[in-house]
């Protein structure tokens, strides 16, 4: 079935080749560019708008536009009749069903065109897409690393064939990753990769309440706000004062499908950063450090404040006092508040607070204002306490990064728009401007999406239909 469609496509491409002289191409390019922007893409349908604004330079070259038009235009937008081999069940309880959903998802919804357009970066460097590692996790749990593809067409073909439950994006290498085995050891090296960040709720286990729920998503919202501010470029050339730290323009935030968020920084400069630079950026952004053996994970200077810390504090302060302190059990039971008291480097103060809280039903907010009042009053006499409030605040709310993912050039990270195999939710982009309103429990589930398609198809008889 697939091969049929393919053959047709190929034929049409071959046939149309002589019929479209180069001057014609020039004329159509502009139109295609526009079309590329204007078409409602599934990105938008799935949730928030995809926030990668390509510069003029980054626009696909003529050839790229041409191929995308030919290869994806037909197949993707009008969704060619699907093979009817896999009957679609409405239950999500067995692997085969999930695979059938995935099959439909990849055929009808996965934004191959945008995906290819993104990863080819305007084909400024000829082999950029071809030398990119992608890896697939299959339903059988086998793991295929070092996959690479000639173009978006080949990638799409392979994904439809394998129906991977997870797609990871790796680095751009100096050669085609699929030919890795034929390259002498040590000669195959990762050259570039997006600067990525991975924030997962697991890293918050020591400081959050027991259940994973919407309350915990506050941590992610705060993380997006803080990191995005630090990475951001000037918003407006005239207003230099608003320029943020690292000056990256192209930042894509993505819901990880379960309990976290990913960030892809795609600027040319970000992609070219070496391991050391990535490590430095991570260290710049990291405030919560140290393993489980270290109870005091945040150390800030009391003499001066880095602007990035000051800005983070502006974001953290309100959320901490209005939400986290009530929602995360930070100051409720003695065993919880003991953890917090450990961060106060003054034994007398600790004793005073303890006796003031013991056996009294004080609300967390009251306890917090006690801590604030006491430390602020004491900090003039005892310089050790000057940074304590800040340290507590950061310990309980500052983003916790998985630094290894960001540092290693050849680390893999799950691609946007995958379907999380356990939750069935699509890894949709999150618009950082509106991250407050993002609700992970409303992220689309592949199951619902396919149902909507079925409903649409049956309402529009004669249009493309989903089998089953």
């Amino acid at each position: 079935m697939f091969s049929d469609t393919d053959n047709k496509d190929n034929r049409s491409e071959i046939l149309s080749q002589p019929a479209s002289p180069s001057s014609d191409n020039d004329a159509t390019t502009g139109k295609n560019k526009k079309a590329g922007y204007a078409q409602p893409q599934s990105a938008r349908d799935l949730g928030n708008e995809l926030e990668i604004n390509f510069d003029e330079d980054d626009l696909p070259t003529k050839t790229a536009t041409k191929t995308t038009r030919k290869s994806f235009g037909v197949n993707y937008i009008t969704a060619a009749p699907a093979p009817s081999s896999a009957p679609l069940s409405l239950m999500l309880d067995s692997d085969t069903d999930f695979l059938a959903l995935l099959d439909c998802f990849y055929r009808r919804l996965f934004p191959f065109r945008e995906f290819y357009r993104w990863l080819s970066y305007g084909l400024v460097q000829r082999n950029y897409f071809q030398n990119r590692e992608l890896s697939f996790t299959l339903a059988s749990d086998s793991y295929l690393r070092f996959q690479s593809f000639k173009d978006g067409e080949e990638l799409k073909h392979r994904i439809l064939e394998l129906k991977p439950v997870k797609i990871d994006i790796g680095a751009v290498y100096n050669a085609k990753p699929k030919e890795k085995k034929s390259i002498q050891e040590g000669r195959f090296n990762a050259l570039e990769r997006e600067l990525v960040f991975d924030i997962d709720m697991t890293d918050y286990d020591p400081i959050r309440g027991a259940d994973i729920c919407l309350k915990c998503w506050d941590f992610m919202t705060v993380s997006i706000k803080i990191l995005d501010r630090a990475l951001e470029a000037e918003k407006n050339k005239k207003d230099f004062h608003r320029a943020e730290d690292f000056g990256f323009k192209h930042r894509l935030w993505v819901y990880s499908g379960r309990r976290g968020v990913h960030c892809w920084v795609c600027d040319d400069r970000a992609r070219k950063l070496n391991v050391e630079a990535r490590r430095a950026i991570v260290s710049y952004l990291e405030v919560v450090k140290g393993g489980d053996e270290n109870s005091k994970k945040v150390s800030l200077s009391s003499k001066s404040t880095h602007p990035a810390i000051r800005e983070a504090e502006k974001i953290l302060g309100p959320i901490f006092t209005t939400r986290l302190i009530n929602n995360q059990d930070i100051l409720t039971s003695p065993e919880k508040y003991e953890k917090l008291l450990q961060l106060i480097p003054d034994e007398e103060l600790k004793k005073r607070l303890r006796s003031s809280w013991e056996n009294k039903n004080k609300r967390p907010v009251e306890k917090w204002s006690e801590i604030m009042g006491e430390t602020q009053a004491l900090s003039k006499k005892k310089p050790a306490l000057a940074a304590t409030l800040q340290e507590i605040l950061f310990n309980y709310s500052y983003p916790r990064l998985d630094s290894n993912v960001s540092i290693g050039l050849n680390h893999l990270l799950k691609a946007p728009f995958c379907v999380h195999p356990k939750t069935g939710r699509v890894c949709i982009p999150i618009d950082q401007k509106y991250c407050d309103s993002f609700n992970p429990f409303q992220a689309p589930k592949v199951f619902d999406l396919i149902n909507e398609i079925s409903a649409y198809d049956s309402a529009h008889v004669g249009g493309p239909s989903v089998p089953g």
Binding site: D141, Y143, F240, H241, S283, Y284, G290, E293
Partner: protein
């Protein structure tokens, strides 16, 4: 550089000191052209190597800045003397200074040749050459330094008052009193170490470096230029028509810096371990604290995070646990997982450690300096060095559990606090392991004396003396590798020492250079 004829180079050189090497500082961008005898070739290289080693030693032992300076200064005086420019030099002065500077240049390039071939060697060389450069830069007279800087193409301009006004709020935030400070604007990539410490204001991709950190700018530029040049050396080397006489010398020089890396299981000697042995070794104290801590968490949680698996897994490999046994061991340890999940998600990494997957490199167990310096543990991690990464309270708990007395624990806490992590670890070895080893030695010696020889009796006396707990540093070498602890503890001090001694000897025979321990004694 020009083509001065080789025979008459001394005279020419003395006249040219002002043109060829007008300054002590050298960016090493020009290749040396003078002729060097084979003997000098090696001597120069080894002398410079001793200086770099001294720097390495100082950093491994976490000396403070002042101590490090002293150590480096002493090593430079001894092996790589470089005089400053004289106000009124005699021709004799000029000749001597030119010779010193030429030797500095030549030795640098010889080591480049020796160290450019593998990534590890390159990294080692760049790191310590940069430290040497920084030392010299800080040490240089201000006037000379400024002229030298102005001649290099790296001058970053100080920011204008307009630019300053635009970011003054941020500058004041980080540097509360900055009226008389100059700031230099550079792409943040040029001062990564400052970015990492949040010691500079970063705005729109530029770092605003305060004048006090200008040396960092220069040092980083030196480092990145050296890195690129080494890489181009490495690419050029295979095509170079290298003299047959040089290869062995270069090889032996490059080997000097390699510590014992504990690659390959000791299985060849027949004393391999099995999966069943591991858990029994821990309570006997054969594992250093970092490893017994990882082991404890592995047992308690049935899991370790990636970095912990790497640190512990490679250590086990170094103890002589073959791959098949390692697979068995980890499978049992991860007792909450299904076979399926284990073989899919974890077995790969274990085979990877043994060089059976991926790049198929035989990975070496982590050394102490690697564990201490890189990859700090984050939440949920248990890897790292307890002396470095644990809080004083939890360290104390671990130390006491390992069998140290309260007094020793205090001592160890102090050493850790002062940054002498490896010495603290060595101390723990001495108070917990040395007596046991000595007892074992006594037993052996006593058995020997039963056969009735005076020498054996003397051995008993020595062993008893060694077994005394008050015996201090000096009984064992400083622990520089977790597997060194294991070897000394499990395979017995004697075997460990003998192997260490033999290695020392090998090194001396190779090149006549001092071993890693000798320079600062």
């Amino acid at each position: 550089m020009n083509n001065n004829t080789k025979r008459s180079r001394t005279d020419a050189a003395s006249r040219k000191v002002t043109t060829e090497f007008p300054f002590r500082l050298n960016w090493y961008s020009d290749l040396p052209t003078a002729e060097v005898s084979l003997a000098d070739f090696e001597t120069y290289a080894l002398n410079r190597l001793k200086v770099l080693k001294a720097i390495e030693n100082a950093s491994v032992r976490n000396r403070n800045a002042e101590d490090t300076k002293q150590i480096v200064r002493a090593a430079c005086e001894k092996y790589l003397r470089l005089e400053p420019n004289h106000p009124a030099p005699t021709p004799e002065d000029n000749r001597r200074i030119a010779a010193q500077r030429r030797m500095d240049q030549q030795s640098h390039f010889i080591l480049r040749l020796a160290f450019c071939r593998t990534e590890d060697n390159r990294a080692w060389f760049v790191k310590h050459e940069t430290a040497l450069f920084k030392f010299r830069y800080d040490d240089e007279m201000l006037s000379d330094r400024e002229i030298w800087i102005s001649q290099q193409s790296l001058s970053a301009a100080a920011i204008t008052s307009q630019e300053r006004a635009a970011i003054s709020a941020d500058l004041t935030c980080l540097f509360p009193s900055n009226f008389d400070m100059k700031f230099y604007k550079v792409p943040f990539e040029h001062v990564l170490s400052l970015v990492a410490r949040r010691a500079v204001v970063v705005k729109n991709g530029f770092a605003y470096v305060p004048g006090t950190e200008y040396s960092t700018l220069v040092t980083n530029a030196f480092k990145s230029s050296l890195t690129t040049q080494l890489e181009s050396f490495a690419r050029a080397l295979p095509r170079m028509d290298e003299d047959d006489r040089l290869v062995p010398i270069l090889n032996s020089i490059a080997r000097q810096c390699a510590m014992r890396d504990y690659t390959g299981t000791e299985g060849q000697n027949g004393d391999t371990l099995t999966a069943n042995d591991i858990d029994g070794l821990v309570p006997q104290g054969h594992f250093p604290l970092c490893m017994s801590n990882l082991h404890a968490h592995l047992k308690a949680d049935g899991h370790l995070k990636h970095s912990g698996r790497l640190q512990f897994g490679l250590f086990l490999k170094g103890t002589g646990l073959p791959l098949e046994e390692a697979l068995v061991y980890w499978r049992r340890a991860f007792n909450k997982l299904t076979d399926d999940k284990f073989s899919k998600e974890y077995a790969y990494n274990i085979r990877f450690n043994y060089g059976k997957e991926g790049s198929r490199k035989d990975y070496a167990p982590y050394s102490c300096s690697k564990i201490i310096m890189s990859n700090h543990p984050a939440a949920g991690d248990h890897h790292g060095c307890p002396f470095r990464h644990a809080t004083p309270e939890s360290l104390k708990g671990m130390v006491l559990k390992a069998g140290a007395s309260e007094a020793a624990a205090l001592d160890i806490a102090r050493l850790s606090k002062e940054g002498h992590y490896q010495i603290a670890c060595t101390k723990l070895f001495e108070v917990t392991r040395a007596p046991a080893i000595a007892r074992a030695r006594i037993a052996v010696a006593a058995a020997a004396s039963a056969s009735g020889s005076d020498a054996a009796a003397a051995a008993v006396a020595a062993a008893v003396a060694g077994g005394n707990e008050s015996v201090n540093i000096g009984i064992v070498d400083i622990i520089e590798h977790p597997n060194q602890w294991f070897d000394m503890s499990y395979r017995g001090t004697d075997a460990g020492k003998r192997r260490g001694a033999k290695k020392q000897l090998d090194q001396d025979n190779d090149g006549g250079a001092a071993g890693p321990m000798d320079i600062d004694r």
